[in-house]
Amino acid sequence: MSDRWERIQERAGGWKHRNLLGIQELTADDISLLLDQAADFRDMTDEDLATHKPMSSVTVFNFFVENSTRTKTSFSLAARRLGANLIDFSSAGSSLSKGETLADTARVMEAYGAQLVVIRHRESGAPHVLSRFLNAQILNAGDGWHEHPTQALLDLLTIRDAKGSLKGLRVGIIGDIVHSRVARSNIDALTKVGASVVICGPPTLIPPYAESLGAEISYDFDAVLPSLDVIMMLRMQKERQESGLIPSIREYRKRFALDAVRIQRAKDDAIVLHPGPVNRGLEISGAIADSDRSVALRQVTNGIPVRMAALYTIFKSQSGGEG
């Protein structure tokens, strides 16, 4: 029991990054370290946590400038389990809509004593800009279409749990790639740890120069499905039809939805992930979402230890012995 806690502390001592802005800045070893941390945090009992109080008296700000229920709840639970003081600094509009700059908002959080800021923002790069004005450490909880590093980490932990290892797996990410921070972080994380990734969707929802992200590109779900060990379905928003990116949801569903008929092409042991919230009957049928193949709820559960690992590891690495 105390071995586990010592391992967690030791790993955190070797951590090099001040902030967690994205998967991009991490190495394969960094990713493995955070997954190991998460697995150990997951195994810590309430008594263990009450004994060690890993982040007691640390002030963590949840700065969510975009609607989010799941990620915010997950970070809140993680921070509380670590014993941190959690402050909800969420806001409906951007700083600019109030006449402030993001720099002003950063200085206000600092003045309140924020030591660690968890930021969710609709603009790509907002955490990077914030980091230039803030001494507090920053954890990116999703920025625009850019990155969602803790989502990728919890996805990798869930896949590792189910498959034993990540190396050599073939992972399909299906749907609206262009608007997806989940896709970008996952492509980067999975390729770094030795999995291969194929992204699949209509060409209008695949980003330009997507090949530079390191993934294979396909427009044909039926063709790639039999080769996949992991099927990651992305949320498809109805607004994509309204903005003209696809002709119709109907045509999209026929070609890219995962339903009881299409799943028959998959390997018997292929698992299905979804970052949520699910659009039941759109990108995935209810039957598949609820089937044994689906690990969506395990993803949700794993979110908490992954975020505990991220919060604790980056904080501990900068604060030395305290905390």
Partner: protein, 430 residues
């Protein structure tokens, strides 16, 4: 100020006369009196020794935004002209996208009067092509021209309606002033923050594809052919646009183009950390586009260097990249950064550099007696010290704004003196 001044012992570079030789340049009563060879120094009230320096026609920046009227917190005409002279420019042409837009005679006169009152550089107003930059109705271009507008542009936004552009070009044949277009197909660039490229995809930012510029450059070339009216391409930024303009010139069409220093020096890899000082419109492009722009400038396909001086306050820039204003200041950095990166490295000849900074912009704008050191021309002179090494410091600049990606850059070459109608300024102590 002296009635007569002699710049003694410099290297006179005046592409308008094919001069590149050591010699003296004399100005009397605001006009060039003596150009080349040696002059009798005793006849001049003031003698400025300029050995080791280049003596060129006064530099003309044909594309600046001085924000007055309407956004005087960013720049005024009075601060803008000081920045211009400090950077080596004797003349600037101000874009019409102020608040209100320069679309009436009274507003053209306002800009001229503010310029005259401020002194320093010559200020030439550019009038709007369409009322309120709305793209719907032509301004009274003839009356605006008579009031002093030297060109017409809706810069900041394109003239998106093909027929309005055609009508503007046709009408300009009567007015005799050039139409300048900001080339951007608006439907292709909605919501864009940077160049569409592997970098935009990696950063999760909506991209501005080069094709959105190319389409409009070609449209303007086609309409130039249809109407026979000259057209000038503002801040050209893509390899394909360079090719299109080169081809149009080979066919003898009256198409001209300008490029900014930032599109000659920087590419979109600079955006890796979401720094808003690298957000501009058109956006920074790929390395290949940068190389094509340099080649186009060197071979004369691109006529002029223009700064697109775009001042913005800290409030406009200390934000999420997607919420920040486009543009950077340029008047006080154009000369040294282009000199350092292109001229000193042999990528751009001294003659072409001076030509693109003087002769060509003056001709495109129809500025009589400027962009040349011919005897009788206006006494507008830029004296450059090609050897001085210094460091760019935004805090030392005269512009009201400090949005400058070149801040901190070590550079070689700097304007030492600017004469405007014979009034000599020391660029390092404005």
């Amino acid at each position: 100020m002296s009635e007569s001044v002699l710049f003694q012992g410099g290297r006179i570079i005046d592409p308008s006369q094919g001069i590149d030789a050591a010699g003296d340049l004399g100005i009397r009563d605001g006009r060039v009196e003596h150009c080349g060879g040696s002059a009798d120094a005793s006849k001049y009230d003031t003698v400025v020794p300029v050995s080791g320096c280049w003596v060129a026609p006064g530099f003309v920046d044909m594309h600046v935004h001085f924000r007055e009227p309407g956004q005087e917190q960013k720049e005024t005409i009075a601060t803008g002209v000081r920045a211009a002279v400090a950077g080596g420019y004797s003349s600037v042409a101000c874009m019409a996208n102020t608040i209100p837009v320069i679309d009436q005679e009274s507003l053209v006169r306002f800009v001229l009067e503010r310029g005259r009152a401020a002194g320093y550089a010559n200020v030439f107003p550019i009038g709007a092509i369409t009322v309120g930059l709305q793209g719907k109705q032509l301004t009274e271009m003839d009356l605006l021209a008579k009031a002093g507008a030297v060109a017409f542009s809706d810069d900041g936004i394109p003239v998106w309606d093909d027929n309005i552009m055609r009508l503007a070009l046709d009408y300009s044949k009567m007015v005799g002033k050039v139409i300048i277009d900001h080339c951007e197909a608006p439907e292709l660039t909605k919501g864009s923050v940077m160049n569409e490229s592997p970098m935009s995809t990696r950063l999760g930012l909506k991209g501005w594809p080069t094709s959105a510029e190319d389409i409009m450059v070609y449209r303007n070339i086609a309409l130039c052919e249809t109407t026979g009216a000259p057209v000038h391409i503002a801040h050209l930024s893509t390899a394909e646009s360079v090719r299109l303009v080169r081809d149009a010139k080979e066919r003898g069409l009256p198409v001209t183009a300008e490029v900014t220093p930032h599109h000659l020096l920087l590419d979109d890899s600079e955006l890796w950390n979401y720094d808003s000082n690298y957000r501009m419109n058109p956006p920074l492009r790929s390395k290949e586009d940068v190389e094509a722009c340099i080649a186009g400038l060197a071979d004369g396909t691109i006529d002029a260097i223009a700064s697109d001086h775009a001042p913005h306050t800290l409030e406009d820039k200390e934000n999420e990249l997607g919420c920040c204003a486009n543009g950077i200041i340029g008047l006080e950095t154009s000369v040294p950064v282009v000199f350092t990166d292109l001229v000193a490295k042999g990528k751009l000849s001294a003659e072409r550099f001076v030509d693109a900074s003087t002769v060509k912009p003056a001709r495109i704008l129809g500025l009589e007696g400027r962009g040349t050191l011919e005897v009788g021309a206006h006494g507008d002179v830029t004296v450059l010290d090609p050897g001085v090494e210094w460091k760019i410091d935004a805090e030392q600049m005269h512009s009201l704004s400090h949005n400058c990606p070149f801040n901190g850059m070590s550079v070689t070459g700097r304007a030492r003196h600017v004469a405007v109608s014979g009034n000599v300024y020391d660029c390092t102590s404005i």
